[in-house]
Amino acid sequence: MSKELTKLKAGVSGRIVSVEGGMGIRRNLENMGLRVGTVIKKNSQQIARGPVIVQVGKAEVAIGYGMAKRVFVEEE
């Protein structure tokens, strides 16, 4: 069962299964190394609809709340 990245618990890993939205958001995420199939780990999320911080490989990326809601992951 896939869920929004914002719903994933901190400290849990997941595989990106789909990105809802146009080419723009896909390309921007791809540029940061976040593609469908990529395994990421959610490190933390800021309170009050703040950005989600994920670990991808050895890198950390902050994703705005609105964008993170459009990234669907499956828990690993």
């Binding site: 309170i47 991808v56 490989g57 950390e60």
Partner: protein, 575 residues
């Protein structure tokens, strides 16, 4: 005709240590310029390869060559013009970085790859087979560490061996990248280092904000104290070196007349006062150089330091949720903070924001609701004697206004606020040479852009004074001031002068013996009604005339509304 000097392009993703390598490769002569017809800034410098002069160009960092934003568009054009490409790759994140590398290989230009941050890769337990990568790509590869300078010499030597890559890039670029990474890289598990623990703490949803508060307080203290120290130093320089010159000129002009009014200004008790004479050659050059410059310098130094350490993306992440309510995103906190010291660098800082909507909201909020050091000092000077209550009322009103105005502008200004999507780089030690270059280039921008316009502003105000326009305006506006704000008619002059210099306006208000209510209203109105001339000029350059007019309209409406409302409320509660 082809340029005889070889053009070497330094290219890579943002945050891969490109500018540090740039500083290592070039000498002291570095020029920052805008790519023609754009606001995208890049640096170029000179270097020597085998006793042959070459030009090194620091291409704006980009993730791909798809020309999806301005920096990428510029990068694509630059690739066409370059002779050799030095592709800087972050060794700790091969997968993401190779996307650009492979796109560059497709261009068929002679190329070298620098695997930078090699030390970090080792720390992370990453093992990259350089020879295998070289074979895969078909271009020379060298491991570098910009900070320690390791591998830089080899990189310079390899530039003449640069050759077009032999890799045939497939349609699906990511499958190529996957294969390469699989073949050349091995990752061993490592326990988190202190740096990584600190990194997590500073973006922790609970601990992070506390750390941020401490960092901000320390930064503000540094800028306030060190800036003041430099300010006093420069003030002495002016007294000793410039005052005799100005005095001689004043004597030459017989101490009076139109030209004297413009150049020297009015003599205060028979002598030149750099703060109050308002002449082009007295107050006009004193304010920007001795008052604004020291604080701008300290701010730029600190901002560049926090940037090079890697703290700014974290701060932006922490405040993103609040800023989104105001139609901005996390990164707009930077111009706001800058504005607390001086609105000029703040307004200049709004340049980093992506959309027109964000730039408009940020600079308008800055101009209306973010008091600069001079304004803060002014409010404290006016109200401090009457106790902390008045100060609290003023600053709370301004902060409240910041939130309300932001929410309103978010709703009514057309356009988009993008979501943040940023790399959180590991904390790094700054490399002093590239830090110095960064500060130097930012200072140069300020001197070149703001200074001439400050002088022009003083000149215009002086002319208006001399021909009686200011007196005329005072008479026109006094009904508003007395009727709406409940201030005496004499306050008009102070409000008009406040446009030029806020703290001088206080000097003009002080003898009027205002009541407590009048003091509060006057303080709030002085903070919100207009920024100083210099900020206006920068806003004009950043926003253009149409948006500046809109923003000005907002400033005036807010001042009238808040000044009038505050007067009414305070009167109603019997203050």
């Amino acid at each position: 005709m082809k340029d005889p000097v070889k053009k070497i392009l330094l290219m890579g993703n943002p945050n891969v240590g490109k500018s540090v390598i740039f500083s290592r490769l070039t000498g002291t002569h570095v020029v920052a310029s805008n790519y023609s017809g754009t606001t995208v800034e890049y640096a170029r410098g000179k270097m020597r390869i085998d006793d042959e002069a070459a030009q090194l160009i620091d291409v704006p960092g980009c993730y791909s060559l798809e020309a999806a934003n301005k920096a990428e568009e510029v990068a694509v054009k630059m690739v066409e013009e370059g002779d050799v490409i030095v592709n800087v790759v972050n060794a700790t994140n091969l997968e993401r970085n190779l996307n650009l590398t492979l796109q560059l290989i497709k261009k068929g230009k002679p190329m070298v790859v620098a695997l930078n941050m090699w030390d970090e890769a080792l720390e992370h337990g990453m093992d990259i087979d350089i020879k295998a990568l070289e074979k895969k790509l078909g271009v020379p590869v060298v491991a570098t560490c910009g900070l320690s300078g390791e591998g830089i010499k080899q990189l310079v030597d390899l530039i003449k061996d640069a050759r077009p890559g032999t890799l045939k890039v497939k349609e699906d670029i990511w499958s190529d990248i996957g294969e390469i990474v699989e073949d050349v890289q091995e990752v061993h598990h490592r326990h988190p280092t202190f740096r990584q623990t600190l990194s997590h703490a500073t973006v922790h949803p609970v601990i992070g904000p506390f750390i941020a508060l401490i960092v901000l307080l320390l930064s503000f203290a540094f800028v306030a104290y060190f800036g003041d120290f430099l300010h006093e130093l420069l003030e002495d320089v002016f007294e000793f070196l410039w005052l005799p010159v100005a005095n001689a000129l004043s004597g030459l002009l017989a101490g009076t007349g139109f030209l004297h009014d413009i150049l020297i200004g009015t003599l205060i008790e028979g002598a030149i006062d750099f703060e109050e004479s308002f002449g082009l050659l007295t107050t006009g050059i004193f304010i920007p150089i001795a008052v604004v410059l020291p604080f701008v310098f300290c701010f730029y130094f600190l901002l560049s330091l926090l940037e090079d350490i890697g703290y700014l993306p974290r701060l932006g992440t922490l405040v993103d949720n609040v800023m989104h309510r105001l139609g901005l995103h996390g990164f707009s906190v930077i111009p706001m903070l800058l504005g607390l010291g001086c609105n000029v660098p703040g307004a200049m800082g709004s340049r980093v924001l992506e959309t027109r909507k964000e730039r408009f909201i940020a600079s308008t909020l800055l101009a209306v609701c973010v008091p600069c050091m001079a304004q803060i000092a002014m409010v404290v000077g006016l109200l401090g004697r009457a106790g902390a209550t008045g100060l609290a009322v003023v600053f709370f009103t301004v902060f409240f206004l910041w939130l309300i105005l932001g929410i309103l502008m978010k709703t009514f200004i057309k356009g988009e606020t993008p979501e943040i999507l940023v790399d959180i780089p590991p904390y790094r030690f700054p490399y002093w040479k590239s830090l110095a270059k960064k500060v130097y280039m930012r200072m140069k921008g300020f001197m070149k852009e703001a200074l001439p316009f400050v002088l022009l502003g003083v000149f215009i105000v002086n002319v208006l004074y001399s021909v009686g326009v200011i007196d005329f305006l005072s008479r026109i506006f006094s009904p508003v001031i007395t009727g709406l704000f409940g201030l005496p008619g004499e306050a008009v002059g102070a409000l008009i002068v406040g446009f030029l210099r806020k703290d001088v306006a206080v000097g003009m208000l002080a003898p009027l013996e205002l009541s407590f209510r009048q003091l509060i209203v006057a303080s709030v109105v002085l903070v919100v009604y207009f920024p100083c001339v210099a900020t206006f000029v920068v806003m004009y350059k950043e926003l253009g005339i149409r948006d500046l007019l809109k923003s000005t309209l907002i400033m005036i409406s807010v001042a009238l509304f808040v000044g009038g409302g505050l007067n009414f409320i305070l009167r109603a509660v019997g203050v």
